[in-house]
C-alpha cells in the first residue's frame, strides 16, 4: 500500500454517523462535512460525543459513511492525535516521532523529527524517554508525532489541553502554520482556541447529538485573540455552549 504524502486537499463528508454507547444513543443520522484544506472545530459539553465523532472519522469506532471528495479511502491518509499522548514508554521521544515510519517499514527521518521537536519546544529532548517529560511536554511530543506524519488530513482531540496559556498560544501559532492547507478536524473545550484556529466552528449538543450551523469567523488563522471581533464571537460561543449543556444534560 502506498501512502499519499502530497498535500492536495480534499474534503471529507460524514453521513449517517451513528454510535450507541452502553445502550444510549450518542448520535444518530449525523452529517458533517470537513471542507478541503480548512480547519473544522468541534465544541460541546463533555460526554456529548465529540471524541467519538472524531474516532468515527478515523475509522476507529461507530458506524457511518466517511467519504473523501477524491473518492479514495481515507485510510493511510490521515494523522490522529488522541486526548492521551499515547507515547510508547520504551521508545525515546524521537523514536516516538518516527513510529509511523517504523510501523510502515519506511525510512525514518531523524532530521525532520529534530526540527519538529524544536518547533514544539522540545529541542534536545529527543533521546529522553517519555517518562522523564512533564504532562505538557508529553502532549507537545504527541503533537510533534502527529505533525511528523505529514498527512493531508489531521484529526486532533484537545491537542493543547495540558499546556499553560503562553505555551498554548505559541503552539497554536506553530500548529496553524503547519496545518495550513490540510483538512483538519479539531475537538476542543476552549472557544477561544476554536476561534483562533478554526475556519468553521460547530457546537455539538443534545442526545442524540446534533451539530449546529457552523460559525465562520472572518480572516485566516491563527487569529489574534485580542481582536474585539473575536472576543464578541467568543461571547456568542459561550452562550451557545451554555444552552448546549442544558440540551445535553
Amino acid at each position: 500500500m502506498t501512502a499519499d504524502h502530497s498535500i492536495r486537499p480534499f474534503s471529507i463528508s460524514v453521513h449517517a454517523a451513528r454510535l450507541a454507547y452502553a445502550g444510549a444513543l450518542l448520535f444518530d443520522a449525523l452529517d458533517v462535512t470537513l471542507p478541503a484544506g480548512q480547519t473544522t472545530c468541534l465544541l460541546g459539553p463533555s460526554g456529548v460525543g465529540k471524541t467519538s465523532l472524531l474516532r468515527l472519522v478515523a475509522g476507529l469506532e461507530g458506524a457511518g459513511v466517511v467519504r473523501c471528495s477524491d473518492d479514495r479511502p481515507l485510510r493511510g491518509r490521515y494523522a490522529w492525535m488522541a486526548q492521551q499522548d499515547l507515547l510508547l514508554p520504551w521508545l525515546t521521544v524521537a523514536g516516538n516521532l518516527m513510529l509511523g515510519a517504523r510501523l510502515r517499514g519506511e525510512r525514518p527521518d531523524p532530521a525532520r523529527a529534530d526540527g519538529l521537536l524544536r518547533l514544539v519546544g522540545l529541542a534536545g529532548r529527543g533521546d529522553d524517554r517519555p517518562a522523564s517529560l512533564s504532562g505538557g511536554m508529553r502532549q507537545r511530543a504527541a503533537l510533534a508525532r502527529t505533525l511528523m506524519e505529514d498527512r493531508p488530513v489531521v484529526l486532533m482531540d484537545e491537542p493543547f489541553s495540558a499546556l499553560d496559556a503562553i505555551t498554548r498560544y505559541q503552539l497554536q501559532d506553530a500548529a496553524a502554520e503547519l496545518l495550513a492547507g490540510r483538512t483538519v478536524m479539531l475537538v476542543t473545550h476552549d472557544p477561544l482556541e476554536a476561534l483562533r484556529l478554526g475556519h468553521r466552528i460547530h457546537v455539538m449538543a443534545g442526545r442524540p447529538a446534533r451539530l449546529d450551523e457552523a460559525l465562520e469567523p472572518a480572516g485566516a488563522p491563527p487569529r489574534d485573540p485580542r481582536d474585539p471581533e473575536i472576543l464578541k464571537l467568543q461571547a456568542e460561543l459561550l452562550t451557545r455552549l451554555a444552552s448546549a449543556r442544558a440540551a445535553t444534560a
Binding site: L60, W80, A82, L86, L88, W90
Partner: protein
C-alpha cells in the same frame, strides 16, 4: 530506596541469614538432637569443604538442567503465546488444554519422563521445561492481549500491518508481563530439575541428597541443600537484574524494589 531505610538490602539479608544460622545452632544445643537428624551448622560447613569437589560436580549438572529447562521452556512458552495470540483458532483450541494441564500435578509425570527419556539430563530438562512452560505462556499471552487500546488505535491510524503492530507495539508492550512470567519460571525451574533427579538419576544435587540420606550423611545432605538454595537464589537475582536492565522503562518491577519497599 535503601538510603532512606538506613541499611542496604544485602546487609539486611546477611543479618537475617546470620540470625537463622544462630537459631539453628541454638536448636541443636538446646535439644541435643542427634547429628544424623540435624547436624550443627559447623558440621555442615565442614561437609561443604570436605566434599567441595563432589558438590561442585553435581551442582554443575543441576545448574545445566535448570538453565536448559529455563531456556527451552521460555522459548517454547514465548512462541506458543505469540502463535496463540496471532491465530484465534489455535488459541480457542489450545487454551482449554493448557489450563486443564495445570490441574494435573506435573510432578506425577516425573517417573514417566524418566522412563521415556532415561536417567540422564534429558528427563530433568523436560521436567523443568514442563513446569516453566505454562507460567511463561500465560503471562506473555496475557500481556499481548492487554495492549493499551489507544496504542492499537494509533497503529491503525498509522496504517500499520497486523504483523508490524505486533512487532513494534504489542510485543514490547507485553514484555513486562513476559518478564513476570520469567521470574516465576526462574523460581520454579530448580524444583523441576530436583524432582526429576529424585525420581531417578546418576548425578545432580537432588541425586546427591538422596544418596547422602541413604548413607546417613545428613551433614552432606544439608551441604547439598544449602548449595541448591544458594544456586536458586543467585539465579533468581541474576535473572531479575537482567530483566530490570533490559526493561528500563518499567518502573519498580524488580525484586529490589519489593525488598526496599
Amino acid at each position: 530506596m535503601s538510603g532512606r531505610t538506613g541499611m542496604p538490602a544485602p546487609v539486611r539479608g546477611l543479618i537475617v541469614a546470620a540470625g537463622l544460622v544462630a537459631a539453628w545452632q541454638a536448636v541443636v544445643w538446646l535439644t541435643g538432637v542427634p547429628h544424623y537428624i540435624l547436624p550443627a551448622p559447623q558440621a555442615v560447613l565442614a561437609a561443604l569443604l570436605d566434599h567441595a569437589a563432589l558438590l561442585a560436580e553435581n551442582t554443575g549438572t543441576t545448574a545445566a538442567e535448570i538453565l536448559l529447562g529455563l531456556a527451552i521452556g521460555t522459548l517454547l512458552g514465548g512462541a506458543s503465546a505469540m502463535v496463540m495470540d496471532y491465530a484465534r483458532v489455535v488459541r480457542r483450541w489450545l487454551m482449554p488444554v493448557l489450563v486443564a494441564s495445570q490441574a494435573v500435578p506435573v510432578f506425577a509425570l516425573a517417573p514417566l519422563l524418566v522412563l521415556w527419556l532415561g536417567y540422564g539430563m534429558a528427563s530433568k530438562v523436560a521436567m523443568a521445561t514442563l513446569i516453566i512452560y505454562f507460567p511463561v505462556t500465560a503471562a506473555f499471552l496475557d500481556g499481548l492481549r492487554r495492549t493499551e487500546p489507544g496504542w492499537t488505535d494509533l497503529a491503525r491510524s498509522m496504517d500499520a500491518s497486523r504483523w508490524s503492530a505486533l512487532r513494534h507495539i504489542r510485543m514490547p508492550a507485553a514484555l513486562p508481563s513476559f518478564a513476570s512470567g520469567l521470574r516465576v519460571a526462574t523460581a520454579v525451574a530448580p524444583i523441576g530439575a530436583v524432582v526429576g533427579e529424585w525420581v531417578g538419576s546418576s548425578s545432580g544435587l537432588g541425586h546427591l541428597m538422596l544418596n547422602a540420606i541413604g548413607r546417613g550423611q545428613t551433614d552432606l545432605m544439608f551441604a547439598a541443600l544449602s548449595v541448591l538454595a544458594v544456586l536458586a537464589i543467585a539465579l533468581y537475582f541474576t535473572i531479575d537484574r537482567l530483566l530490570v536492565r533490559a526493561l528500563p522503562w518499567v518502573a519498580e518491577s524488580g525484586v529490589e524494589d519489593r525488598i526496599n519497599a
